[in-house]
């Protein structure tokens, strides 16, 4: 008979290898899923994991990896700080949208003037926009004790409506022949988040993502605030005894994650996406939740998980177009990844015992 026995302390070994096991299990069961859909599972798995990196068209896909990975990492880093403290910001998608609207709005306000300070001003506006949107659940929680999960999630839908209104109204391109959507920032040099090295996919958002990883690592490993975040997540009562101010922590964690999500939105709208449009958001804010957990809420883990998740996105798209896999199958595949990760998570805190039932 199988029995779970609690480990005296979490196993470091299992903490490190459970994500790998989860990825392998996802490959196996995803393969079965693809086989059931009548596709060759080995080809499908190779298409998703191998082709984007090493096929003859990899030169096209590799930069995509950074372009898709950067917003995921940037958002997930912010979320992980809150998640560590038990503060659940589920509405990064909304903060991402509002950050993009604010940043793009500032840029478009200067159109067509050209100046060096426009892009930095947009970055600040993007961060502030995400921050303020996240302050709504933060203040409601600290003032009235509302649940930040519900409020932040519902604000995503509000933000989506705001986005639609902006693309149809205030920010609509005056020269756009009535089509919804703003001017394309890619054609406005002062506001364009262009590639820093052509063909590599590295734009300022990628740089910001790497800086965020380093910042979060130092914060968690060496700073008092990081210690307080971890302590609050571990044991709220001990945190209070240690002098942590829970209200301040809620504001800081939601504010930081909102600002980073807003930054991700700004870098996206001024770079790869180019314009505010009704369907600007593609779910980075939600996928980042998976990335944060896949990376075990650890900055370096999130860096790797963000790249892996970007890989399944790109690979999934190739599989859709080349093998004719339905997009729902790809989403199920990504869902499996989180499912297996959470399932094997139990091994870090428990060990499995094979027990012989003794007959007394």
């Amino acid at each position: 008979m199988l029995k779970l026995e609690k480990r005296p302390e979490p196993s470091r070994l299992w903490t490190a290898i459970t994500p790998v096991i989860a990825v392998l299990a996802t490959m196996v069961f995803g393969g079965l899923l693809f086989a059931a859909l009548g596709k060759d599972p080995f080809v499908a798995i190779r298409t998703i994991f191998y082709d984007p990196l090493f096929s003859e068209f990899a030169w096209f896909y590799r930069p995509q990896l950074l372009i898709k990975g950067a917003p995921l990492i940037l958002i997930a880093i912010g979320l992980s700080l809150g998640f560590r403290a038990g503060i659940w910001n589920i509405g990064a998608e909304g903060q991402y949208i509002v950050g993009a609207i604010c940043g793009a709005g500032v840029g478009l306000a200067f159109y067509p003037a050209e100046s060096w300070f426009i892009f930095p001003a947009m970055i600040i506006a993007g961060a502030v926009g995400g921050f303020l949107w996240a302050m709504i659940p933060a203040l409601l929680k600290t003032r009235f004790g509302t649940n930040e999960i519900l409020v932040s999630l519902m604000l995503v839908y509000v933000a989506e409506q705001l986005l639609a209104s902006m693309s149809l109204g205030l920010l609509k391109n005056p020269d756009g022949f009535g089509f919804p959507g703003s001017r394309n920032l890619q054609h406005y040099p002062s506001a364009h988040n262009a590639e820093i090295i052509s063909g590599w996919g590295i734009h300022w958002g990628v740089v910001a993502a790497f800086i965020a990883v380093i910042f979060a690592y130092v914060l968690l490993a060496r700073h008092v605030l990081g210690f307080q975040i971890k302590l609050t997540g571990e044991s709220p009562r001990a945190a209070k005894f240690a002098g942590v101010n829970p209200t301040r922590l809620v504001v800081v964690c939601l504010g930081l994650s909102g600002a980073l999500a807003g930054l991700a939105g700004l870098f996206e709208v001024s770079g790869p996406a180019g314009q505010i449009s009704i369907d600007f958001n593609v779910g980075y804010g939600f996928t980042a939740i998976i990335v944060a957990f896949l990376g075990r809420l650890h900055p370096v883990g999130i860096l790797l998980a963000g790249l892996l998740m970007a890989l399944t996105y790109i690979g999934g798209e190739i599989a859709q177009s080349n093998l004719g896999l339905p997009s729902a199958a790809i989403q199920a595949f990504q869902g499996m990844l989180l499912f297996f990760l959470l399932a094997v998570d139990v091994l870090t805190n428990f060990k499995i015992k094979f027990r012989n039932e003794r007959v007394a």
Partner: protein, 501 residues
């Protein structure tokens, strides 16, 4: 063999990494009150769980009334005439006494008959209890009576009682002992688990001492001194803390009419608490659990804030200062709950050293943590307080309760407090470690600190406190010199009736 009710023969039970009971044999006679003595972790609980059918022994046999006894579950044990009163009650607060009792029965009679039987039993055995009252309104002593009567309704031949007096006032203890003596006179045997030696000498006919899972001796406790029994339990000669006779100095900490609404639903609000502690003095605060101990500690530690001048430290108002601000002026505290309040369970001892030691030990600089200094501080605590752990990197929850308690107390003592508030400093700690902790508190007082010990262990308070007062339903009695008090007076103070004194 014929005159014994239950005989245990070579009972052995091993868990991974530890042998909880190793070849334990003894006999419980008819109408005998048999004490089971031992430190925490000596194997007392495992042994009674085997008798009550909660745990199956690996080896060995039990014979009850001449017949093989292998209870596979508590129901079988109850049917065979074994009843047990646990240390932690399993009662529903929202239901009344009779409803609670009927929930535990195989074939409950209707409520009116049951209430009559409860009244019957409670009168016969001198355990006053109204079957119609809601359990939520009962005191701990009354709740225990519910559990006892639940057992007595089954007319057990053997009644197991696990640490029954830990939640009782001295007066309630006397009532309980009266009941137990009456049961004994009727031929019921009682297996009485405790580590309170005076009680055992007072009540029990026979005592079996366990140490590290093995039986050390079976003896007549009335023929042994409390110290001899303790040394059998510990297996070594016992160091009794020494109290230096010191003159109390000036007032260090004062509370003035503190009212504090409890944050938790089942907590007790504090009602106009006032007291003073002097330099070099140990103030003992007794009282049954749940009378406002947690709330009092949080008002002193700074987790709960009061009007500024309601708490005074060396003439300064500190009622509005939070925990870290109080730490920096050397007012420290160690709460009762070790895991989850005093320490974070999954964090290492180094991180837990940082938890309260940051300000006074200079463990951070401009907001950045100094891990090296934190590691040295943790090592220092582990060495000076004899904390048994493989390394300072181990998680707090991997330590035994006693070792973690030594760590928690050591962490505060080594920060050189002017005021130290501790809640249940030796709860669940073995005798040797408890003595070490009490000695550390006394040493601190001798150096001029003011110590406040909140405890439910009266023996402990008698041993180390200079002044004694009691918490009852959130009110604090007037402090009196401990040396002038007798047990009767303490019981009255704990019951809340001597506020006029």
């Amino acid at each position: 063999m014929t005159d014994s009710l239950l005989s245990l023969r070579g009972l052995t039970k091993a868990y991974p990494g530890v042998v909880a009971n190793d070849d334990v044999s003894f006999e419980i006679g008819h109408g005998e009150v048999h004490a089971l003595l031992g430190e925490n972790g000596a194997g007392k609980s495992t042994l009674v769980k085997m008798i009550y059918g909660l745990v199956k022994p690996d080896h060995g046999a039990m014979v009850l009334n001449g017949a093989e006894f292998t209870p596979s579950q508590p129901r079988v044990a109850r049917a065979a005439g074994v009843g047990m009163v646990f240390q932690h009650f399993s009662l529903f607060e929202a239901l009344n006494v009779a409803e609670n009792i009927s929930l535990g029965m195989e074939n409950p009679p209707n409520q009116r008959d049951l209430s009559d039987r409860i009244r019957d039993v409670s009168q016969t055995y001198g355990l006053p209890l109204d079957p119609e009252r809601r359990v939520g309104d009962l005191s701990a002593g009354e709740r225990q009576r519910v559990e006892i009567i639940r057992c007595l309704l089954q007319s057990p031949k053997l009644l197991i009682m696990d640490e029954p007096t830990s939640v009782l006032t001295p007066q309630e203890v006397e009532i309980l002992f009266g009941t137990l003596r009456k049961l004994r006179a009727e031929g019921t045997s009682i297996l009485y688990i405790s580590h309170k030696l005076e009680e055992i000498r007072n009540l029990c006919d026979t005592a079996t001492v366990l140490r590290l899972g093995k039986k050390v001796a079976t003896c007549d406790p009335r023929e042994k001194s409390a110290r001899e029994l303790a040394e059998m339990m510990v297996g070594a000669s016992l160091h009794i803390p020494e109290k230096a006779a010191a003159e109390a100095g000036e007032v260090v900490l004062e509370m003035r009419n503190v009212d504090l609404k409890s944050l938790s639903q089942f907590g007790t609000s504090l009602k106009s608490i006032s007291f003073q502690v002097h330099s070099g003095e140990v103030l003992g605060i007794g009282g049954v659990a749940g009378n406002g101990q947690d709330e009092l500690l949080s008002a002193l530690s700074g987790e709960a804030l009061t009007p500024d001048s309601a708490v005074m430290f060396e003439g300064k108002s500190i009622g509005q200062l939070g925990p870290n601000a109080r730490r920096s002026i050397s007012v420290l505290a160690a709460p009762e709950e070790r895991l989850g309040h005093a320490a974070a369970p999954d964090m290492s001892l180094i991180e837990n050293a940082l938890l309260t030691g940051r300000a006074r030990k200079g463990l951070d600089k401009n907001g950045f943590l100094r891990w090296g200094a934190a590691r040295r501080f943790a090592k220092d605590i582990i060495e000076k307080f004899d904390v048994r752990t493989p390394s300072s990197k181990n998680a707090a929850r991997s330590l035994s309760g006693g070792n973690l308690q030594k760590f928690v107390i050591g962490r505060e003592v080594l920060q050189d407090p002017r005021v130290l508030v501790v809640n249940q400093p030796t709860w669940g700690v073995d005798a040797a470690a408890a003595a070490a902790i009490r000695q550390a508190l006394l040493d601190l007082a001798a150096k001029g600190a003011a110590i406040i010990v909140i405890s439910q262990d009266l023996d402990e308070l008698m041993e180390i406190s200079d002044q004694f007062c009691a918490l009852n339903e959130g009110r604090l009695s007037k402090a009196r010199r401990t040396a002038d008090l007798n047990v009767e007076e303490i019981g009255l103070m704990m019951g809340g009736s001597s506020n006029a004194a």
